[in-house]
Symmetry: D2
């Protein structure tokens, strides 16, 4: 089975964090390899960054795309790890060329851009995965599968949250790159906290339950002086089945790292998951027992989930494998699309539709907050 060849757009800056993370995720399984990249805005820096990675460098994504189209460069898919503002254009270009894309979240800067990508994906029928890393944790996948299978009955309510503390002070003024672009409207869009981590909480609420959000009432705060965008994000949402979701995120929770998680309450049971102990899932059915499931414990878990396990339970796979699982999903889609045999089923990880919904959610939340919490349709 030949390795899939992957190209990377972005990810090469000195303060870049996710470029290397994706590189590790690509390499984790022996079935993919990073081979090329257009990794920085500055042409020279882009070539140097690629050289540091030991891959073929391009001065920009257009050059890389041309090389693919001319047959010079073999690429099975690209992964886009640029800041938010630089997702849309390369995604569009590669998708139009029929090249599958695994794109960082939030998907775009605007709803219109997101919808445009969705149209292209549908028309071209090209694989597209949105890098909501946490959805790659098998226990989060199991949560979705259980709910789909009716294990907890109909969903009534969801609590979904993401607490971080790294932006509790004006870190962006210190020159820290991650903080700088996330708090800059030009590079991050209309929301900082909502866009960066509120979208994770949103995906947990909607992707896991299979239920969209119809409308939202929001209160966004900016606690740190001098900051333009929100660093705290609070919403109450109406789900499309009439249920309620409370979706919150904050970046000012001093000492909190990545306290992301959700509780889903159904008519017959409840499910709870925490990112910081991601390889377990707590399920209750109201019979006095709390049942904990673990990644790697195959038993009677559905193959949709267990086909993503790498080691038996008790050795936590955790962060890099979770992201690698999203690469596995696009890999399975690609290989299946080519008619390769024996490819396990690809889990329905977030794609372009979830990206559109996420952008609409952020837009509606920002609007609602401006209108004093008025219920706003997505």
């Amino acid at each position: 089975m030949a390795k899939l060849k992957v190209g990377m757009i972005g990810g090469g800056g000195p303060g870049s964090f996710f470029g290397m993370v994706h590189n590790r995720a690509i390499a984790l399984d022996a079935s993919r390899e990073l081979v090329a990249g257009a990794m920085r805005t500055d042409a020279k820096a882009a070539l140097r960054a690629a050289k540091d990675y030991g891959i073929k460098g391009y001065i920009n994504y257009q050059a890389m795309l041309e090389a693919v189209q001319s047959g010079e460069q073999a690429l099975d898919y690209v992964t886009i790890v640029t800041p938010n503002f630089a997702h849309y254009e390369p995604a569009k270009a590669f998708l139009q060329a029929g090249i599958p894309v695994l794109c960082e979240k939030p998907m775009t800067m605007t709803v219109a851009e997101a919808q445009d990508l969705a149209r292209i994906v549908k028309r071209k029928k090209v694989p597209f995965v949105l890098a909501h890393t946490y959805t790659g944790h098998p226990m989060m996948m199991l949560a979705k599968q259980m709910i789909k299978d009716g294990d907890i009955g109909e969903v009534r309510k969801v609590d979904s949250w993401y607490n971080q503390g790294w932006l509790a002070t004006d870190l962006e003024k210190s020159g820290q790159q991650q903080a700088a672009w996330r708090t800059d409207p030009k590079r991050t869009g209309i929301s900082n906290c909502g866009g960066d981590i509120g979208t994770h909480a949103f995906v947990a609420a909607t992707w896991v339950t299979g239920l969209g959000v119809k409308k939202v009432s929001a209160r966004l705060n900016t606690f740190v002086k001098g900051r333009v965008l929100d660093d705290d994000f609070n919403t109450i949402c109406e789900l499309e089945n009439g249920g309620t979701a409370v979706i919150t995120a904050t970046q000012i929770a001093v000492g909190y790292r990545n306290d992301n998680g959700f509780r889903v309450f159904g008519t017959k049971g409840s499910i709870e998951w925490h990112q910081e102990r991601a390889e377990s899932l707590l399920v209750r059915h109201g019979d006095g027992r709390d049942v904990t499931y673990w990644t790697g414990a195959e038993f009677d878990l559905p193959a949709e989930v267990s086909s993503y396990f790498r080691v038996p339970s008790g050795h936590n796979e955790d962060f890099f494998p979770a992201l690698a699982n999203l690469h596995t999903t696009i890999e399975r889609q690609i290989r299946k699309g080519r008619g390769e045999k024996g490819i396990p089923v690809a889990f329905p990880h977030p794609g372009v539709e979830e990206g559109v919904a996420g952008m609409k959610f952020i837009k509606a939340a920002v609007d609602s907050s401006k209108k004093k919490g008025a219920w706003t349709r997505l």
Copy 2:
């Protein structure tokens, strides 16, 4: 040191739960004893219930009060454990007679009643404690003390929640008494979930931080068919210092027991507490360490808190001692008021002001929910 003599109003019914709980809390320390009670509505049943408790019975609270006033019955304070609708009248009567009251929550049926009690308490200067049991957990007290002492800086945000699952079905139709009165507007007031457990989450948010709620945007749900009042309660609140509190409660979280807790995020640190592991407190200051404190570990904890410890840490005191601590507080207030020497300082547990605030909060939340989440002043 003579034992304080306690009278109980309510608590004698066959399905009553909190009568016996208070009895245990009163008896836990050797300094108080339950001696009399007007424990049920029906006169005969009231006398029989008191006999079962081995105490002097009265046919109603008026009779008990008369006996006190005539000097027949010595009582140092009364505890009111009736359903919500039957708090106000006996509380008023005893307070007006200058007899201290420890009253179950929520304090009254209406804001006006609550304000009336507050006026009497102020005028008569008589001790009044509101039985928010969880505030009796020393680690919840420590949270309040630390915030007051500035340990986490200025409070920016609070998450406070209470998840239960016992009303996920129409249990009230089965004849279960606890469910029946709580879901009946005549006995419970304008809110079921909000009044019963939302008030706990409200107290956690406000009493612990020392910050009132100015206004609220709410969405109340009734998920179980045939139920009149809310069984799910969601709010976003503006605190009086401009901070935000997300206060939620639900009774439809299948398999959840008493998942009550809070996270407070300040400018310099964060504090987190969970009722189901009540004897520990998690404090973070953003230095990479999570610090856990434990009830019973004296060391340099403030005497306001440590004077409530009964055993060294590692043997969890938990539920009954927490409630007993509220009795200890009213006991300390009473003994101090009489000039007894050597009485440790009484912790500022919730009283009549917190009761008024709680009633205003429930009222404002119900109103806001009816007005589609419009921000509503307390």
Copy 3:
């Protein structure tokens, strides 16, 4: 139902800890009351201590026994909370007089004394409960019940431990009373750490499994200079069914409070319990699920256990109720013995046989350690 009248022997000293703990446990349920005590060695101090408790005082246990026998003093049972050396004589005297005894552990100073008590209990058929407080935690009771019911198959192995840190320094030299008598051979017997907390770990291993220890290989240490007895206790044991138990205890684990617990591995499943989170029990059957049970969650739990619950799950009962449950057990035995109707079944809490086994275990462990770990029969 008349309250049982309880007498206390010991427990009145200024540094006494367990006198008040038993008092709380007796008072927790409305069915018992402490009425008399011979609480200190010095006659005058004994009377003063009783007065402080608000009970009838006696100058010594003999005087209290005489008062009972002469009909002056009604007592349904006595509880003995003296240091180890002063258990045997009063226990013997009251048992011989046919008065039930709830006695602190370890039961006696020597195996011979323990066997003597056992003979008396058998001959006189008088209720006797050994105050292994932790066995009163319903989840520890559930563990025993499950194993008895075959839920985890045949027991192969037990890990049982108790880690404390309070004697990591020579606290006994500071005048701390608890430390002083426990490290003094005259008052505590041949073993400090083994006798005080090793017996808890021993009971967890044997009472929970229903399996005795046949022989033991031990290594006892004294880490703190100037101390005569062990402050660290390590054994490997052969169970009577051929299985193995690793039973350890230490008092030099700095910062550890009462980290007592056990894991039992059977042919079909495993059970794990921790005293510091005593109200839950972890059960595994090798099917990829970890199942947690909780005190108070009735459902299909056996009535032997659930009849001891006081509140629904989610409000942890914990330490005082656990000890109260042992008083409940002797109370049920007494009431049943008198032919009272409707008394729930008394759980088989540790009694005189467990006391004898505990003394033999300590003796054998001390002997084995002296003989360089030679396997020694109990």
Copy 4:
């Protein structure tokens, strides 16, 4: 920085587990790549396995070594992932050729073989790392560093354990390869449970504390009928400073996965670590606070440890990165040895001395158990 080229010996069988695990660990960082392998005993199968990995295949390790020595094949180090019996010969051959080795544990079949490797390593001064994966967890490294720095004073006692349940039945008879070779004396050596996982607990006790074991008293059990070697392993050990270690391991703990961990009790503090929540470390100093540290939280952690972090705390790195860290260590040793600049310090991960000690420990434990627990020198 050119990638180091790695060869693999073993790891190619259909039931092989650790071949792929090492492959992932090698690939996780962009600084190494697996390029060649002698992956199975059968020549044809070996070539096919290598082809599946997409690397250069050799019919056996000798052929691979010859290719290296002839200059045909560039290899910077090899990793040996064969069953125990096939570690010694290839390790010896490559070490003698001056080629660094990262070898699976236990290091050899006998003490003599282990000592032979130690002599070669010393003489040739060639990097050698023993693949005790868990020592690659930064929080386990931090534990070692803290103890070395005196943070908990002098070590008095260690509890170290490893509980698994996968061999609670005679899985080896089902044809499961992992079970088959581990329970076969010819392939695994004189101990199954002790050699496979007891060595992990041994390393935790000795490598973390920096203290060797002087002598051991052991009881080994074989619970599953028909099995020749131990499946349960219990020891009490004397440390070289006079302290005590209780080191246990079992494979019959039904439902337990990889419950490996340790508690170290020093004169000034205690440290506790659990493999199944490997990215945190619990430290206590007896001041009433439990302090938890987390991988990725740099702050004032020593660079020896923090230089191994890949992502900020809150995204758990866990299993693959832990093993990758051992590859990082041999990589740093190799690069430093070549005079490359800017290479961070290599953490003192287990090497050939720890391998010798482990073999001696297993031998002494097996001997002691045969001699009824007699204290046996290593």
